[in-house]
């Protein structure tokens, strides 16, 4: 298919359709409302359902309902909306249902602002809701990757039977870039008759399926948590995704950055190279599972004097970076989070300060 020029939000909507998502529930919030605007037109054409909930709390449980019935389902929201859905996210994780959540992050805390931010890293990777669970979290750096990751999210949600999150930001939602859609996702979940409440008449098995998150028997709850833990361990083995930039040089500084912020860093690295200063970047594409070993290895290079995590936050991913660098190099941080994205020139100043 030829390239089309699309806004990130609209492209995410189209990607969901091409992944076979027939159920989309949402509540409007800037800067992601165009996903709903797009799908309210497109989904009925594909025989799907768009329903606007009365609040994000309700939307979270609509997702749980459809996911529990084994349907492909997605919601999109932005930071305060994701907070309201977080209770349902915990329930969906506990009940082991596949669902796709997209967070087009805006500035916080509180109502914050409507401009781009990465202030929801902790919320996305360390819980958000209560209890021992993780989301598989992917962070696109542009519209093309937002499309690819959204489609992949459905596959991974079904592979691990759990919620998957796309963590974008306001810029990725609002920006238009050329995008080439991958082939439609043809696969259907193979095992859903084993667990989903998809109706006795629709499946061969006569076993009654129960979708639940309440386990009053301590041994049963422990078993459920161990089952979740086993999935997260498998994700750490099979789903770590990252990109290295300018890493085949004798770089003096290693930047860790993701999403929109990583693009600014890439420009800064190119500009520094013209001055003869080599800097590399490690860009996690999956925030959970985190590229732990890759960060350790990249920081360990002899030429590397320091590691700096550059984020549109007050310092969140840097905690994971520190954990993975294991003290072998100093780990610094730079971030802004009012909605203004730091310029390449600013990044260059910060990097030079480390040399």
């Amino acid at each position: 298919m030829a390239k089309v020029l699309m806004k990130g939000n609209e492209a995410i909507g189209e990607a969901a359709i091409r992944a076979g998502c027939k159920n989309y529930f949402a509540y409007p919030i800037t800067p992601q409302s165009e996903v709903a605007e797009y799908l309210v037109k497109r989904l009925p054409e594909e025989g799907g359902v768009f329903l606007q909930g009365e609040s994000e709390v309700a939307v979270g449980y609509m997702i749980f309902g459809a996911a529990g019935a084994g349907e492909r389902v997605m919601t999109t929201s932005s930071s305060p909306g994701i907070s309201l859905m977080s209770e349902a996210l915990s329930y969906i994780a506990a009940a082991q249902c596949p669902a796709v959540f997209v967070n087009i992050v805006r500035g916080g805390p509180g109502l914050g602002g409507i401009l781009p931010s990465q202030g929801d890293y902790f919320q996305a990777t360390k819980g958000g809701g209560h209890g021992d669970y993780h989301l598989l979290v992917m962070a696109p750096d542009g519209v093309q990757e937002a499309v690819e990751m959204t489609m992949l999210a459905f596959t991974l949600a079904e592979k691990y039977r759990g919620p998957v999150m796309i963590m974008g930001d306001g810029l990725i939602g609002q920006m238009m870039e050329p995008v080439e859609f991958p082939d439609d996702l043809k696969t259907e979940p193979t095992n859903k008759d084993d667990w989903a409440t998809n109706g006795m008449d629709t499946r061969k098995s006569k076993k009654r399926n129960l979708v639940k998150s309440l386990f009053l028997d301590p041994a049963a709850l422990n078993d459920n948590n161990l089952a979740l833990k086993a999935k997260y361990e498998q994700m750490k083995k099979e789903e770590v995704r990252f990109e290295l930039y300018n890493s085949d040089t004798d770089y003096q500084v290693l930047i860790t950055s993701y999403g929109t912020m990583s693009r600014v860093c890439r420009t800064a690295i190119d500009m520094l190279k013209e001055e003869g200063i080599e800097v590399a970047m490690l860009r996690p594409k999956t925030l959970f599972p985190f590229p732990e070993k890759a960060v350790f290895d990249a920081a360990a290079k002899d030429s590397c004097k320091a590691v700096i995590s550059i984020e549109m936050s007050m310092g969140q991913m840097v905690e994971d970076v520190e954990r993975c660098v294991k003290g072998q190099r100093p780990v610094e941080f730079y971030g802004e989070c009012g909605g203004d994205i730091p310029s390449p020139e600013k990044i260059i100043d910060i990097i030079k300060g480390l040399l």
């Binding site: 020029l5 409507i114 810029l171 920006m175 870039e177 693009r263 600014v264 310029s343």
Partner: protein
């Protein structure tokens, strides 16, 4: 080689569309492009601006403080952004609404009475197309026939207004060549 163009005006002037059409044509010509709107708590009649990045390699930061060129559709836009333009760039001035020119001497100023031309072509609503074609003709960033096709394609669902926009396009090109 990377070129950045800031389009600025007030909400409703259609600058987001002008910018999109330029990005679309550049994409069809094989360039990497990004269209980055300003999205704040804006309202109709308020300021609106948007940056198009056109590059022959993968675009890094799409956030541009100093664009190569500026298309200013009203006076506040000119005043706000004229000093950001890189030396050697083009500052396009809609003289129907901007009674002054820029104080910058290190740029090319292209002064076109966009609204007047659009009204003569049939409707002031085509002012954004006049500005687009005039700027594009002067800046040589994209193939003009391809750009014209993109404009036509954009209005495919509203066939009635295609002739108006084609006329606006042609008059815009003419104005750039005589300005």
């Amino acid at each position: 080689m990377q070129t950045e163009i800031k389009f600025a005006g007030f909400g409703g002037q259609g600058i987001l569309l002008s910018a999109k059409l330029l990005a679309y044509a550049a994409m069809k010509q094989g360039y990497f492009v990004a269209w980055v709107p300003s999205y704040g708590p804006e309202m109709r009649g308020g300021t609106a601006y948007c940056t198009v990045v056109i590059s022959d390699k993968l675009i890094g930061s799409p956030i541009i403080k100093n664009p190569t060129h500026l298309v200013a559709m009203n006076l506040p836009s000119l005043e706000k952004f004229e000093n950001d333009v890189k030396p050697g760039g083009i500052i396009f001035i809609n003289s129907s609404l901007i009674p002054v020119t820029s104080k910058r001497t290190d740029v090319t100023q292209l002064v076109v009475p966009v609204n007047d031309i659009a009204i003569k072509a049939g409707s002031v609503r085509a002012a954004n197309i006049v500005a687009l074609s005039a700027f594009a003709a002067k800046s040589n960033l994209v193939d003009m026939d391809l750009l014209k096709e993109c404009v036509k394609e954009e209005f495919a669902a509203k066939a009635k207004i295609i002739p108006l926009n084609m006329e606006a396009f042609d008059q815009g090109v003419k104005s750039a060549l005589t300005a």
